[in-house]
Symmetry: C2
Subunit: 489 residues, 2 copies
């Protein structure tokens, strides 16, 4: 056994245990009896203890000193192991435990404050979470930028300054696009009741059309749609709303984008450090291109209209372009997760700016609500009416996920780049989409992005697939063209 | 922290991890996508590795040397920890790994041999499993009885010689009872098709009537009925057969007996070494008394008949006594798991004798089929027709569970004792059962058996509940009385 072999054997077992912990999380959201919550807390904490001990095992340091990489795959595995080991060891165990303890309670405090529309009730908790994450960021940054150190957990190698430049170019054109659309008449929304069993049946059909391998996955109902697991056991969840079938259908296609990335990684990489999606941003690029550039394209919408009429009978819309407008409806709203392609990034950019200011200390926690409401009015053109529609809407900050939000917009930017490259590679894509044939598009993404897992860094993964350096330009061009047509701008 | 505190903190975390491993097993049988099997093998092996390392942690030995028990509960916890630690350390890691490796493949070999009716194809594998278990038994016995050492894993403190005496008294009276019944006319069986959704709805109703707390459990379909988990997350599975609703209903009541034992242990013992059923035999006493002495009593059967007619309409039987005969039908059959109360123990006793002979070396693996068939003809009065109805019918030996079978009959013996004590404590039990009211019976079992978990040893648990030393006599008296009435003997 070489040092590299030792490292990989250890990493493989750790990865297998991480899959077990992940499956426990899935169970908690889908299957767990409600009375089991407290016991499950102990079980999950015990698993986290096992994983933490493995990730900080000092033998990893010894092996890393002696390990050599005979090829690109080994080099990539060593890069991932080195990175994870360095991060795990930079954060003192007592700090990691305190963050786990505080954030596990904080989520409940946030949920209650949101229900009560009471920002003040959440602020002391948020202040504590911010302080702990500042401390963690300092430990990780070792003198460098604290926010970058947090961001690096979700998007290895990304820098806030670079994202800021990219997002700075995105924002004004999105705001103008949004303003232009607001002056146009609103498209029809769907009306009526949509049978939930029929929604689930159609959602399964769509999942398979988009390439989800049900022999290595499953779809269950849960409060929130999510994707969980790697390799040959990748599960997604969905939800149904009898008044809004798009909620179920499009959230499933989104999660199937995540799931396909995990299912389609080269089987040789199974349970190794590179055997999964390389970053949150690249993951989101897959979910968003499946959901938006593909499933919300006018060409595919035309096909979906037929399937929806088969499944639900009269849905109040018969014209394909009218249906394309319905699935791409841009309307005033407060909530990020319910937002359309045009406004979604405006939500994210605002959170990115606010959380950087919280972490740097430029924004005090008690000034968050005012800062949120000012920025919202500036970008969206109307005022926040209550905290649950404002700064209390997202769970992220309560559980300490500062540094996560920007990966949503980075994923959209990457999706824009990949979509441009895909269109060039498959000039007949719209004809395929109009037949409900996704195999060309998902096959291209599988070959060019998904199968590589974390072989390359996030940005390098997208660049290698596209053949050009990622930028915000393709996304903006795509949005302006698509919504220009849909809204007769 | 005292040494006892250290031990208990360590044990609690180990128990939490064991629950995670158990839930992974549940997932495998109920939810896992079929393509995930190989990956799951790695995940389960990694969990087993974690558990084995924890169970053999040398700190346990140090703590045990210094630990003192301030009370009965602590003494019982120390007893369980000492026992598990001694066993885990007696078996060399290489032997444990080899057993895990061989038995994981052996189950597939057995299933194929059974499908092919090919005993010879299974024998080399069985010989290897027997040899490995002999080696393990020798390591555990340290010069003592090898079979007893294996038995002790499932029934702490039990001795084969004592069971042999008990079973020796059981066998002749069961054979005579069986022979007497065979001369009587066969009762009617149910006829028709039974809607599977209605079976599942009724099975859920029965589970709750028998005290299963659905807020801390759930019922799913699986190939085999089983119960999994402890404390506040105890799940059961069931299956449906459209021609035979009793399969679903009675297997669920059986599993609910197991589940109730786990759910009803004193909450103070949660995730501690005594926080679960004390042995397989006592566990089986709960499942069997729920299934047989309670749910197959003529009094309860009369109530169930009404519920079945509500659920399924005409079921071909309207008379309560006729229905009681149908749920207690004794007919010729080869298969243990499909057997009735009279013949079930004859199946088990035969496996007990055969597996002791295999482990002692008195019976060579190649002579197993002949020995099985001879014994079957002697006890059941007709010949085995093919291996899948004979020595290939049960999975147990392929996975190395030698020492497990006798706990089934011991459980029945214990159920007989507990039933006698329960009848004395609740003279109006039949009136309660005739109203479908199980609360008195299950409440008595909860208070006298279940809530104590593993506070006392297995035999001591039953003796304390009954107020007399357990013997086979109550079971025999009960069976002869019940079947004497049902069959007009």
């Amino acid at each position: 056994m070489t040092a590299y072999d030792d490292l990989m054997a250890h990493a493989r077992e750790t990865e297998a245990l991480a899959q077990v912990a992940g499956r426990l999380g899935w169970d908690q959201e889908t299957m767990m009896p409600r009375g089991a919550a407290a016991q499950r807390g102990e079980e999950s904490a015990a698993m986290e203890g096992v994983l933490h001990a493995r990730r900080t095992d000092p033998r990893i340091g010894d092996w890393l000193e002696r390990a050599e990489a005979p090829d690109d795959v080994a080099a990539a595995n060593l890069r991932e192991i080195r990175r994870a080991y360095a991060r795990a060891n930079k954060v003192p165990a007592s700090l990691a435990a305190e963050i786990a303890r505080v954030t596990s309670v904080a989520q409940g405090t946030w949920a209650q404050a949101r229900a009560d529309e009471d920002v003040a009730a959440f602020l002391p908790t948020l202040a504590r979470v911010v302080a702990l994450r500042q401390e963690e960021g300092q430990a990780l940054a070792g003198g460098g930028d604290v926010y970058d150190a947090l961001l690096d957990d979700y998007e290895p190698g990304a820098k806030a300054a670079e994202l800021d430049a990219m997002f700075g170019a995105l924002r004004p054109r999105l705001v103008s696009l949004r303003e232009a659309i607001r002056e146009r008449p609103q498209p029809e929304a769907l009306s009526g009741k949509f049978d939930e069993a029929a929604q689930l049946a159609l959602t399964r059909e769509l999942a398979e059309i988009f390439g989800y391998d049900m022999a290595r996955g499953r779809i269950d109902k849960a409060v929130h749609p999510f994707c969980s697991g790697s390799g040959n056991d990748v599960r997604v969840t969905t939800r149904t709303d009898p008044a809004d079938p798009f909620n179920c259908l499009y959230s499933t296609i989104h999660e199937v984008g995540h799931a396909s990335y995990e299912q389609n990684v080269d089987p040789d990489y199974l349970l190794t450090p590179i055997g999964r999606g390389v970053s949150m941003g690249v993951h989101e690029s897959q979910s968003r291109i499946y959901e938006n550039q593909l499933a919300r394209s006018p060409a595919f919408a035309g096909w979906l209209l037929g399937r929806m009429r088969d499944a639900f009978g009269d849905i109040g819309i018969t014209d394909p372009m009218e249906f394309a407008r319905a699935v791409n409806r841009v309307s005033d709203g407060y909530i990020r997760t319910e937002s359309d392609e045009v406004q979604y990034n405006l939500h994210v950019l605002m959170r990115f700016d606010l959380e950087r200011a919280l972490i740097s200390g430029d924004l005090a926690v008690e000034d968050l609500e005012a800062a949120w409401n000012d920025r919202f009015a500036a970008d969206f053109g109307f005022a926040v009416d209550r905290p649950s529609n404002g700064c209390l809407q997202d769970v992220h900050w309560s559980v300490g996920l500062m540094g996560y939000f920007p990966t949503y917009s980075l994923g959209n930017v990457y999706a824009g780049c990949l979509h441009e490259a895909l269109r060039k590679a498959r000039p007949g894509l719209d004809d395929e989409l109009a037949r409900g044939d996704l195999s060309g598009a998902t096959g291209w993404l599988r070959e060019n992005v998904q199968r590589h897992g974390a072989l390359r860094g996030p940005r390098e993964t997208v660049q290698a697939a596209c053949g050009f350096a990622p930028s915000e330009a393709p996304l903006l061009d795509y949005l302006e063209a698509k919504f220009g047509t849909l809204y007769d701008l």
